[in-house]
């Protein structure tokens, strides 16, 4: 299998890696770069657990090839907090008890973050549809939706 030398910006750092053609971005993050915060729930783009932000857009990293990200900017869960300061979404997930097992949480946080950048003042229904590609089996979504709505409100307040 041919190998590719790839350079991408990952969480703000220029990062070089080598991957085979068939390795996904998820494989690269987890197995090559050891950024295991991105989770593998299905490998087929159905659960959203591996959601990362690529050039400003949320993607299922299991559906992107490692070789495709040459020159791209990738944001993973490991880059969401700034130093010890949690992102408002991370903080609100804790405040609202919006996680139980936590394995879907990194993907949901990334999806919510990029959604709120486009729609900073969403309705509950809009949040539900934005997160419809991210499965959570523990929470029934209630507290997740509340946390995202509350984070949106705080982020709007902070942006004033």
């Amino acid at each position: 299998m041919p190998k590719h030398n790839v350079t991408a910006t990952i969480n703000g750092d220029e990062t070089d890696f080598t991957c085979r053609t068939d390795q996904t971005l998820l494989d690269v993050l987890r197995d090559v770069l050891y950024l295991t915060g991105t989770k593998n729930g299905c490998g087929t783009g159905d659960c959203g657990a591996c959601t990362v932000i690529m050039n400003g857009r949320p993607v299922n990293s299991c559906l992107v090839l490692g070789a495709e990200v040459d020159g791209a900017e990738i944001e993973t869960i490991e880059g969401m907090a700034k130093g010890n300061e949690l992102h408002p979404l991370q903080q609100k997930f804790l405040d609202h008890a919006a996680l139980q097992c936590g394995v879907c949480t990194p993907g949901i946080l990334n999806m919510a973050k990029s959604f709120l950048e486009k729609n900073p003042d969403p309705t509950e229904t809009e949040v539900r549809f934005a997160l419809a590609g991210n499965l959570c089996r523990c929470t029934g979504y209630d507290k997740i939706i509340r946390a995202v709505m509350d984070a949106a409100a705080e982020m709007r307040e902070n942006a004033r």
């Binding site: 804790l94 097992c101 029934g140």
Partner: protein
């Protein structure tokens, strides 16, 4: 926390019953938390399993030589590498761990019994090579006839899965897929039905539902040259896993150290072993650490869903609503190996009600599907479905409100369940009163909308638990328990320890210890952890307090009994004047000068677990043109005894509600005519997504369990029990037609609407 719960919970506790930020929270929102597949060891190999594409077949030939010869392959394992064991012998306990079966489920020996059954495994230097090696394994099958339906499988003449399995109790030597039945009876059934003014008898069915945890099974096994084994795995119970692995693979317990990773959901599904024995054998053979992680498709095909069911339920009532008789028979689909939760069926069918005459029969039937595993209140949601749908029809027929009929027959303190559980203080009546008075119950409904209610019963578990409360000399504390934390148990352990010690929760760091660090603890299952392990934490904390009191007594040179503990301080009794109380922190700092470091330990076998009830109100809207059902409003009312961490209690209730929606409306295993599973991914096995469901309102009812230091009852399971029934009742209410076969998906609902 939802508005409806707020303000209801009252106690004088400082930490118990308060919402605090969960101790594992930051690691989970930053990606630091390490799950099953997040462990990497130096030199680690990648293990993969070859699985049967057939539902039932003899393995005629299995040749791994080409795979073994592939460059990069370091070990190959087949059924011959997993030690065989004698079949379990009667008398059988309620839950059988038959190592004859476990060995064959881990890896087929002579026959494959379901699509996805493991037949060989390889470990290679990369996942790629491992996958390539699987393709080089040559297998020849002789395909045998299969059977899926549990009632058909129990009939004479059905294809037989196990030639050596007969029906226990039958006295017959004829091989049978029916392993055993459980029967319970009370009173005079015929007389009871004769007394009834109205009788309803209906058939129901439910399909196997996968637990649907988002993290597939994953583990890393490492074997030292001296034979010691270390295993990292995602599990609900690493002590139980160790027990199973030790027996299965003949490894001494103390030399088998199992560490539970963070767990990405379990719901009962991660209570046994699948690929872990294979990983250990591959590691033994290769001399290198071996990682194994299932794909989603493997999780569906080869790990246990809950049982499917076929059942008949008959109940009779007088015109005043008194239930005079109830009769149920259920065939549980155990999958390829016995082990359906038949005992629990008898305990859950009619247990919310005090009924003088009743009978329950439950059958444990094998068929060509993956062996079932536990799933939240195993066996109970199906039983509840039948009872609660029949009871609603009876209420309708006698013109009685469905909550009133449940209140009229509600089980209470002093009553006894069919299986003999004598109830102490229980909250069925309180739960139904809250249901009746809830504004949701009286809210108006629009066209094509319907409302359903159902109540579920579950007797939560107790059992073996251990805990260590370890005092550090700076006044901080580690609380170690042997229970993986699925739903926030570390928060609850911390709250109970803080309450006992009288210190801030932030001074306590709870952890999950491995099997080498703590005495045996049963699994995080059966809604038992906050109850039983929490109790152990309370005991261990009290031991710490006693040791600190002893230090104060020595320091003050007064008798131990003259030192009391209150609000985090050692305080001399009033007869000692001029002595200032000493704080927890002061005592912690001086501990080593008074005989050594301080810790408290507890190993218990917690009895006294009690019954818990959950009632649910659901509104749905049905599209009459498509049969599509949209849940509109959902309320869960549950007696939790005492909510130690109310937010996480609500989380259990809300998660169960949505699992119930999936179970009632969508989820099922779909097989082709060769019994091959067709929906092996989340696209086709459609679990509810955020846009499918409404908010879930929670009413936490607290009728403290008198047996527990903080009044705890089990929380995680009771709330799933009535969920499918409540949704199903809402659908029937909306369409004005009777249905009985879950899931109520659009084609079935449409058919029901169109049927006359």
């Amino acid at each position: 926390m939802n508005e409806e719960s707020r303000g209801r919970l009252g106690s004088n506790y400082q930490w118990v019953g308060k919402n605090t930020r969960r101790p594992d929270g930051v690691d989970k929102v930053t990606g630091r938390a390490r799950y099953g597949d997040d462990m990497k060891l130096p030199g680690m190999l990648y293990g993969k399993i070859l699985r049967s594409p057939h539902a039932h077949a003899k393995i005629v030939k299995l040749d791994t030589s080409k795979a073994e010869a592939l460059k990069g392959v370091k070990a190959v394992v087949t059924g011959a590498d997993i030690p065989d064991h004698e079949p379990a012998k009667p008398p059988y306990p309620p839950i059988i761990n038959d190592f004859h079966d476990i060995s064959r489920n881990v890896m087929a020996k002579d026959k494959v019994l379901y699509d996805g059954h493991a037949i060989a495994a390889v470990a290679a230097t990369s996942e790629d090579i491992a996958k390539a090696a699987l393709k080089l394994i040559e297998v020849e099958y002789e395909i045998l006839p299969h059977v899926l339906d549990p009632k058909e499988a129990a009939e004479p003449g059905a294809p037989i899965l196990h030639a050596d399995q007969t029906t226990y109790e039958s006295g017959s030597d004829a091989p049978s897929n029916l392993f055993r039945s459980s029967r319970g009876e009370r009173g005079d059934l015929d007389a009871g039905f004769a007394e009834a003014d109205v009788i309803v008898e209906r058939d129901f069915s439910s399909e196997p539902i996968h637990q649907g945890y988002i993290e597939p099974m994953a583990c890393v096994a490492s074997v030292s040259e001296d034979g010691a084994v270390e295993l990292w795995m995602t599990t609900q119970g690493h002590f139980v896993a160790r027990q199973l692995l030790s027996k299965l693979l003949n490894i001494e317990l103390a030399k088998l150290r199992v560490t539970a990773s963070e767990i990405g959901g379990g719901f009962g599904g991660k209570t046994t072993v699948y690929q872990e024995p294979v990983a250990i054998r591959l590691a033994q053979k290769s001399g290198r650490p071996v990682r194994m992680a299932m794909t989603r498709s493997e999780a569906f095909r080869a790990t246990g869903p809950t049982v499917g069911s076929r059942m008949t339920v008959k109940m009779g009532v007088k015109n005043d609503g008194t239930i005079t008789a109830a009769d149920a028979e259920i065939w549980y689909q155990a999958g390829a190996f016995k082990g359906a939760p038949i005992g629990r069926a008898a305990d859950t069918f009619f247990s919310p009600y005090d009924i003088p005459n009743m009978r329950v029969a439950a059958h444990d039937v094998c068929s060509n599907r993956p062996k079932i595993a536990a799933y939240r209140a195993p066996g109970a949601p199906m039983a509840c479905l039948g009872t609660e749908m029949v009871l609603n029809e009876l209420a309708e027929k006698i013109g009685m409100d469905p909550v009133e009929i449940r209140l009229k027959n509600a089980v209470k303190e002093g009553d006894q369940s069919l299986m003999g559980t004598k109830h102490g203080r229980i909250g069925m009546i309180e739960v139904m009163e809250e249901t009746k008075n809830h504004p949701h119950y009286a809210a108006p409904l629009g066209p094509n909308q319907g409302r359903g209610i159902a109540v579920g019963y579950w007797l939560h578990g107790g059992g073996l638990s251990s805990a260590s409360v370890i005092l550090q000399d700076d006044g901080t504390v580690n609380v170690a328990t042997g229970n993986p934390d699925i739903g926030g148990s570390r928060s609850s352990m911390r709250a109970m320890a803080a309450e006992e010690l009288g210190i801030d929760v932030e001074l306590i760091k709870p952890i999950v210890g491995d099997t080498g660090q703590l005495p045996y603890s049963y699994q995080t299952a059966g809604s038992r952890t906050t109850y039983a392990t929490g109790w152990a934490v309370v005991n261990a904390a009290r031991e710490v307090i006693d040791k600190l009191r002893a230090i104060a007594a020595k320091k003050w040179d007064i008798p131990l009994e003259d030192v009391r503990w209150d609000a985090g301080q050692a305080i001399p009794t009033d007869n000692h004047t001029g002595i200032e109380p000493m704080s927890f922190k002061e005592l912690a700092a001086m501990a080593t000068k008074f005989g050594g470091a301080v810790a408290g330990h507890s190993e218990i076998n917690a009895g006294g677990a009690g019954a818990a009830f959950s009632s649910q109100i659901v509104d749905v809207e049905v599209d009459p043109e498509t049969g599509f059902v949209k849940p509109l409003r959902y309320t869960v009312i549950q007696d939790v005894g005492r909510a130690i961490s109310p937010d996480y209690v609500e989380g259990q209730m809300q998660g169960a509600a949505v699992q119930g929606i999936g179970w009632a409306l969508n989820e099922e295993y779909i097989y082709d005519d060769q019994a091959r599973l067709l929906n092996t991914g989340f696209l086709d096995y459609r679990m509810p997504v955020a846009s499918d469901v409404p908010m879930v309102d929670c009413v936490i009812v607290e009728v403290p369990n008198p047996n527990h230091p903080y009044g705890v009852r089990g929380v995680g399971e009771p709330c799933l029990v009535p969920a499918p029934a409540a949704v199903a009742n809402a659908v029937e209410n909306a369409i004005g037609k009777k249905m009985g076969s879950l899931p109520f998906n659009p084609p079935k609902v449409l058919k029901a609407i169109q049927a006359g």
